[in-house]
């Protein structure tokens, strides 16, 4: 009997005194057991007391949270974009290095490692795009073909990196919310 009472009272405790969950013998026991009925009544009241004990909602909490989301989202966008930017740089680096592979044709345009060559290089440095491309071709021209192949691989991996990281970044990108 005591075991029956505990099993039934555990159910009554879990369901805040509601007796709907009691079936079969448990239901029959409950109908004839004053102790269990007393527990059911007490648990119903206890449930109401605890429901009242929860303080009312506070609009300030929601306002505060929502105001804090935007800076977090901006930070998240920046953090998510960093791998994309890094992958882009790797891809560009690889592509630029590979750009020197044809050698003969392009190497002709490279500044020789002479004073005149350096002067030509420096004079072209006024144009940053030209300077970077020329510098990269100069580096590429001095590299071993095996290293250039590796550079090609770097460029390819960079492109893969861009594709993968851009997918993740897209989820938090500013354009996503415009959908």
């Amino acid at each position: 009997m005591a075991t029956d009472c505990q099993a039934i009272q555990e159910i009554l405790t879990e369901y805040r005194g509601e007796t709907d969950r009691l079936e079969g013998t448990a239901r029959h026991h409950f109908e004839v057991c004053p102790a269990c009925r007393e527990v059911a009544a007490a648990e119903r009241t206890l449930g109401l007391i605890f429901a009242d004990a929860v303080p009312p909602a506070n609009a300030g909490v929601e306002r505060g949270v929502m105001a804090s989301l935007r800076p977090v989202r901006t930070r998240r966008r920046i953090v998510a974009f960093l791998p994309v930017a890094a992958s882009l740089l790797v891809a560009l680096l690889g592509a630029t290095l590979v750009g020197g592979v044809p050698g003969g044709g392009i190497v002709r345009f490279l500044p020789g490692w002479s004073a005149q060559g350096w002067m030509a290089f420096v004079s072209s440095a006024s144009d940053w795009g030209t300077a970077v491309a020329t510098g990269a071709r100069a580096v590429a021209a001095t590299l071993d073909p095996a290293i250039l192949a590796a550079a090609g691989l770097v460029g390819f991996l960079g492109l893969v990196g861009v594709a993968v990281t851009a997918l993740r970044w897209r989820r938090v990108s500013p354009w996503r919310n415009e959908d």
Partner: protein
């Protein structure tokens, strides 16, 4: 996503997905859904309603910041309450260094620590029945710590037994048994109000 009746009835899992896509309105629904229970839980944990509101806010912001790390195999509710619980415990640790605490004897004769709340910040201060509020506070504070935590999770956090089992990493049967025992203590102590 415009906040509609349909949106507010979406399950947590869907709202988390939308939030991950940067939908702040969806996260706002989660905030409205849980802020009351989160504040109530933290209020009982730290004994200060104002502080509980600040911690609730921080818990939501941390959840939003860490949403990408949320494992959808688990429930959002237990994850959120775990964040809040950790914040509350950190706060108690910090405060323990700054305040003098009192000790009282619990229902089973053990000595437990009690932090006396400021009357204006009392998490039960909204109850009209002051005698009940006072008794309830004493009874909850006097429970053995393991019972007290389960009572807070059940009645202030509003978690189901299954969610509590997940939160505590306990078998469901143990949760049922411990809550039954905790309720036996509560029924006895609050008999005059029941």
């Amino acid at each position: 996503m415009a906040v509609t009746d349909q949106a507010t009835s979406l399950p947590d899992e869907r709202l988390v997905e939308l939030s991950l896509d940067g939908d702040e309105d969806a996260f706002g629904i989660l905030v409205r859904r849980y802020q009351r229970r989160l504040t109530a839980f933290l209020g009982q944990l730290v004994g200060d309603l104002e502080l509980a509101r600040e911690l609730s806010q921080e818990a939501f912001v941390r959840a939003w910041s860490a949403l990408e790390r949320f494992d959808p195999r688990y429930r959002f509710s237990t994850w959120l309450f775990r964040i809040a619980h950790n914040l509350g415990i950190d706060q108690l640790r910090r405060r323990r260094l700054q305040t003098v605490s009192l000790y009282r004897t619990d229902s089973e004769g053990d000595e437990v620590e009690v932090v006396v709340p400021d009357a204006d910040k009392d998490p039960l201060g909204h109850l009209e029945n002051h005698a009940l509020a006072s008794e309830l506070r004493q009874v909850i504070d006097g429970l053995r710590p393991e019972y007290r935590e389960l009572i807070l999770l059940r009645h202030f956090a509003g978690l189901s037994y299954q969610e509590i089992a997940e939160f505590k990493g306990m078998p469901l049967g143990t949760v049922k048994n411990k809550l039954f025992r905790a309720h036996s203590v509560l029924r006895k102590a609050l008999a005059v109000f029941l």
